[in-house]
Amino acid sequence: MYTEKVMDHFQNPRNVGEIKDADGVGEVGNVKCGDIMRIYLKVTDNVIKDVKFRTFGCGAAIATSSVITEMAVGKTIEEALELTNKQVADELGGLPPVKMHCSNLAADALKTAIEDYKENNK
């Protein structure tokens, strides 16, 4: 069902938690299956220095949250905004078809957090 990489990220999720003085916070929810994903960002000189997440959701939801935090760290805001849902899924070695919308969630949550950062730094 899930690839080894999905299971690894599910079992040992990277960057779980919160950032107290985050520069940006994004939360998205998926109406269909009720998951909620919250992403916290720390940004210095336009580069994402730290990302943390909290997720209520299935194995895929947790794994995509985890992997996107890894993918985002070290990227500029512009680069991070270009991360796509498909890239997230590919990074995990693929997701079951019914779970594909979960990867949308991860990319969306990151984008929402970046929007929030931009809003805060206008």
Binding site: F10, K32, C33, G34, I36, R54, C58, G59, V98, H101
Partner: protein, 385 residues
């Protein structure tokens, strides 16, 4: 790693004694029961014997009232579509409940698309149907009431006898899906009074892919498949002989071992008690009108699949009301109809006991679940602060 299987409502291991009775039909006794020659006649006898075993186990009056099918799903389909087709000139109204198995729900939905009227009775917070609602739902046009004997997710037992009492006054057939109840609580077609009843072998330590529909003598039922003369022409196709023999033996063993059930109930209650010690955990289903095997709790702030996967890594096989994994992403229709919120329904955990589970299994589960729940909650944006 320790392995604890607590998903007996999904399927049970095959009892080795039952396998033993099946093996000859994979070896020398390979004939086709429809054949005239001795290879066939010999096998036919065993198909007849299995039919008798099932009939006796559910206290049917005639062996021929038992029609073998490829499982519970097919038996439910046959009961509902078969009665609908046979009685379509009498009426086009079917009554079911909102918490049925998909084999029943989806079949009723299919009929609804063909112009039948389907009433889905609501259930209370415990998952029990309302008999008054049933009474007022019955009309001249009603041809069938199909209500499951016990629910597969929350284990709630429905008042089938009372349903039959009401139905009889209006001359309406009653079908019950006894897939989960058979082998756990008494299933007696005459005591219940039903006209049709579904069982499935793989829930009672028999093989997968074989089940039966009980059809009371005289009940009007149209075949839904077409072909040879097998199963009184109601269900054509060369018989799954080994499966049938296995179901016969499984039914025989199921009906004679209701004693072990008391001990299962005790273990179930230990599990429930232990799980309810965690904060924000609630029992789903009825506290007493409940299958001896069934534990179903909602654990707030976490999602079912994540919990199942984590338990799996500890060797514990469980399931969740959350249907995330089975193609649909909607939370359990059963829990939703019992009034749970979307989110709470998503965080359900079903543990279903079997004959092989020990008290050590319960200890192990009660040790691991709280740890896993804590870990998942610590990841959840819904929890804490």
């Amino acid at each position: 790693m320790k392995k604890v299987y607590l998903d007996h409502a999904a399927t049970t291991p095959l009892n080795p004694k039952i396998l033993e009775t099946m093996l000859p039909f994979y070896k020398d006794l390979f004939g086709n029961p429809s054949s005239v020659h001795s290879f066939g006649r010999e096998v036919k006898k065993h198909v007849d014997k299995a039919r008798n075993q099932v009939a006796e186990a559910i206290n049917a009056d005639y062996d021929e009232e038992v029609i073998f099918t490829s499982g519970g799903t097919e038996a439910d389909n046959l009961a509902i579509l078969g009665v609908a087709a046979a009685l379509k000139d009498k009426g086009k109204h079917i009554i079911t409940s909102s918490v049925e198995h998909h084999a029943t729900l989806d079949t009723c939905d299919a009929l609804a698309k063909e112009g039948y009227k389907v009433t889905r009775l609501s259930v209370d917070e415990y998952g029990v149907i309302d008999l008054d609602e049933l009474k007022s739902a019955i009309s001249e046009d009603t041809i069938l009431i199909t209500i499951m004997h016990a629910n597969n997710e929350v284990g709630t037992i429905q008042p089938i006898k009372e349903v039959v009492d009401i139905a009889k006054k209006h001359n309406v057939y009653v079908h019950t899906d006894a897939v989960q109840s058979f082998g756990q609580i008494p299933v007696d077609v005459n005591q219940l009074g039903v006209d049709l009843l579904t069982i499935s072998a793989h829930k009672i330590y028999g093989p997968k892919g074989i089940g039966a529909l009980y059809v009371r003598k005289g009940t009007k039922l149209k075949n839904t498949a077409h072909g040879g003369g097998q199963e009184s022409k109601i269900r054509p196709g060369t018989e799954n002989v080994a499966g049938i023999v296995g179901l016969g033996e499984a039914a025989r063993l199921a009906s004679t071992s209701l004693d072990e059930i008391k001990d299962m109930e005790r273990k179930r209650d230990r599990l429930i008690e232990g799980l309810l010690k965690m904060e924000d955990v609630k029992l789903n289903g009825h506290p007493s009108k409940r299958l001896p095997s069934n534990v179903n709790v909602s654990i707030e702030f976490i999602e079912g699949e994540a919990l199942i996967l984590s338990l799996d890594m500890e060797g514990i096989a469980a399931s969740s009301g959350s249907a995330c994994t089975s193609g649909s992403l909607d939370p359990s229709h059963v829990l939703m109809h019992m009034g749970l919120s979307h989110q709470t329904a998503h965080g359900s955990l079903r543990l279903t006991l079997g004959k092989g589970n020990t008290d050590e299994d319960i200890d192990y589960v009660l040790d691991r679940v709280p740890k896993i729940v804590e870990r998942l909650r610590s990841m959840s944006p819904l929890y804490g602060n």
